[in-house]
């Protein structure tokens, strides 16, 4: 019964629209262009955002636990007399041993999260020396087998392999840029000096490219053992990088590790909070612009339905006299808006798909690498565009349709007689 009624109202709406083809087509085109460009713009914005976030996520381990504390531990003198009335000054400061104590336990705790891999490392400062040139270097000692699974260094190496650290005694991997500065290349020997352990000779067994993977030009990789002896900190670990199977769990994992061990555990979100807030602003701008496009499209629907109501005042009176209710008439004209929107959305999906194919085929050369635009083709965007158009169409059609329902048949009949 209700179905047959809506079918009847729909058939009247279709008849009305088919008699005003041009206006209907303009309104349909408006919706189609709105939906199409919504899809293209949001695919670009979300695609580039995902690409960017992926880079942020993969640049470094998802969680990094370092031997720093958010706030320094209170000195024993303070702990012994909490709230003491006398202020003690000049007591001997206890020297904290650097490094993560019981780091094996932290590694075990980190790896208890499903799919997580933890890579312990030691970083310290050394000076690289070649001939008369000196350059500071943040050296990171790693276990190549584990580190390769946690970070993306392997991918950004332009020469050599991470494994070379194991096969070559005293091997080091540094950035291309630094190597250029020092005037050295693969296989060359450099001197490394640290404050605690004097000078050693290291052999360059790998180079990583510049501007990639968030590695700074001033860092270098050696074997963990090498770093410990180089910086005079045997058996010490001061940094654990954790890679998670779900990067978005990083904040929770970091918080629980920090609560348990007291050391600072930083998630990738915390590290890149400023970038993430930038992305939020970008999204706000995007949705504002595309909503404006969809809003303009709904003006077209308003015009079509509004003109239709004006033209069909006589028909409205006839239908009312036959026994159609006010709601029926409103339904007819809202249906007109919905028909325009549905056709427009379908056409817009096609337009959007074509635009995505075109955008996807564009190629750009960035630093010698051919790249495509990152596009997000998820059905979610199609659903949002379709739904938003339908809702705005219903509102745009509802306003004039209300007028149709309020037409007084007697006024029309009296005027015509």
């Amino acid at each position: 019964m209700i179905l047959s009624r809506s079918r009847l109202l729909l058939s009247i709406a279709i008849k009305h629209l088919s008699k005003r083809t041009r206006q209907t087509l303009v309104a349909v085109a408006g919706v189609a262009v709105g939906v199409g460009f919504f899809l293209a713009v949001s695919a670009l914005m979300i695609g580039s955002q995902n690409d960017f976030v992926e880079t942020l996520i993969d640049a470094a381990p998802h969680v990094i636990i370092s031997d720093e504390l958010r706030s320094p531990t209170p000195q024993p003198g303070r702990l012994a007399y909490p709230g003491a009335a006398i202020r003690i000054r000049g007591f001997k400061q206890r020297t904290e041993v650097r490094g993560l104590r019981s780091w094996q336990e932290i590694v075990r705790a980190s790896e208890s999260v499903a799919g997580a891999i933890a890579s312990p490392s030691l970083s310290g400062a050394v000076t690289l020396r070649v001939g008369g040139r000196e350059e500071p270097l943040a050296v990171v000692g790693v276990d190549p087998a584990i580190e390769a699974r946690v970070s993306t260094i392997e991918e950004v190496l332009v020469a050599g392999r991470l494994r070379n650290l194991e096969t070559t005694q005293g091997g080091i991997i540094i950035g291309e840029e630094l190597a250029d500065k020092l005037g050295v290349g693969m296989g060359d020997i450099v001197g490394a000096t640290s404050a605690r352990a004097g000078t050693r000779s290291l052999k360059i067994v790998g180079l990583f490219g510049k501007g990639r993977g968030g590695l700074s030009a001033g860092s270098g990789y050696v074997l963990l053992r090498e770093a410990q002896s180089l910086t005079g900190q045997p058996f010490v670990i001061n940094r654990i990088g954790v890679k998670l199977s779900d990067p978005y769990a990083a904040e929770a994992v970091a918080a629980s590790l920090e609560r348990r061990f007291g050391y600072k555990a930083e998630s990738w979100q915390e590290r890149s909070a400023d970038f993430l807030s930038l992305l939020l602003t970008r999204n706000v701008i995007m949705y504002t612009v595309v909503s404006a496009i969809l809003l303009v499209a709904s003006f077209g629907i308003y015009t079509v339905v509004s003109n239709s109501v004006m033209d069909k005042r006589r028909d409205i009176a006839i239908l009312r006299s036959i026994g159609f209710s006010e709601g029926d008439l409103q339904g007819v004209f809202v249906a007109e808006g919905i028909i325009v929107a549905v056709i427009g959305v379908i056409a817009g999906f096609l337009l959007g798909a074509v635009l995505l194919v075109i955008l996807g085929s564009l190629e750009f050369t960035i630093q010698g690498k051919v790249e495509n635009l990152p596009l997000d083709r998820s059905p979610r965007q199609f659903a949002i565009a379709g739904l938003a158009s339908l809702v705005s169409a219903v509102i745009a059609a509802w306003l004039p349709a209300r007028k149709a329902a309020r037409v007084d048949p007697v006024d029309i009949l009296r005027g015509a007689a």
């Binding site: 009847l8 006299s321 026994g323």
Partner: protein, 228 residues
């Protein structure tokens, strides 16, 4: 003595707001009975069309009472009145008032489909039967602009009869027709009352229509001057 009236109006009034308000219908008492063809006549502006719109529940009275089959129609909401028009009333106007985009049979199907009691095949058969009874079976698939004035008016009558109404209301139904077509419409209206037992109320200027009616209500300045 006789069957209770189908519709009865008591002190029925209708005025348009204004300064001073315009009185269209001034306290009319009227009973409409099944099987009777009633003509409402009078000069232009005497309120006869206004009376018809009140009787057809298209307009709401400003005062008095109006009962259909003993039920007071005043408290009914718009939907209930629309429902009553759909099920029990049929309107025929001076101009054919067909929907121009729809063919003859589609026009006749409008009230049948809206009522929704018949399945599609039965609804079409019903529509075709009614058109056939108007001698229009061969015109069923033409749009109004392809038909003559007389044919259009008969399609309009067919549409009014589609849901088998108890009350048929005509507003100058012959006003735009030539003599031959007028005579045909008058004949149909008489048949609707005498042989099909419907109540027919017809507002008219046409003396032939008035002459054919069982009863003539003379109106002047919003009230009933006389009945014969």
């Amino acid at each position: 003595m006789s069957a209770p009236p189908l519709m009865s109006a008591r002190s029925l009034q209708r005025e348009l707001p204004g300064d001073p308000p315009v009185q269209l219908v001034k306290g009319i008492d009227l009973d409409i009975t099944a099987g009777k063809f009633v003509a409402v006549i009078g000069p232009s502006g005497c309120g006869k069309s206004s009376l018809l719109y009140l009787l057809g529940l298209l307009d709401r009275p400003s005062g008095g009472s109006l009962a259909f089959e003993g039920r007071d129609t005043l408290p009914m909401d718009g939907d209930a009145r629309a429902r009553l028009r759909l099920e029990r009333f049929g309107f025929v106007f001076q101009f054919h008032f067909l929907l121009p985009e729809f063919t003859a049979i589609e026009n006749v199907l409008l009230p049948i489909r809206r009522l929704g009691r018949l399945r599609e095949a039965d609804a079409r058969r019903r529509a075709l039967d009614v058109l056939d009874s108007m001698g229009l079976a061969d015109q069923a698939h033409k749009t109004p602009d392809k038909m003559s004035g007389g044919q259009r008016q008969r399609v309009a009558i067919a549409r009014a009869l589609a849901n088998d109404p108890s009350l048929v209301l005509g507003d100058e139904p012959t006003g735009n027709l030539d003599t031959a077509n007028s005579a045909r419409v008058v004949e149909i209206f008489r048949d609707l009352a005498r042989n099909q037992g419907r109540a027919v109320v017809c507002v008219t200027h046409d003396n032939d229509v008035a002459a054919a009616a069982d009863q003539r209500i003379h109106m002047r300045d919003g009230y009933i001057e006389g009945v014969d």
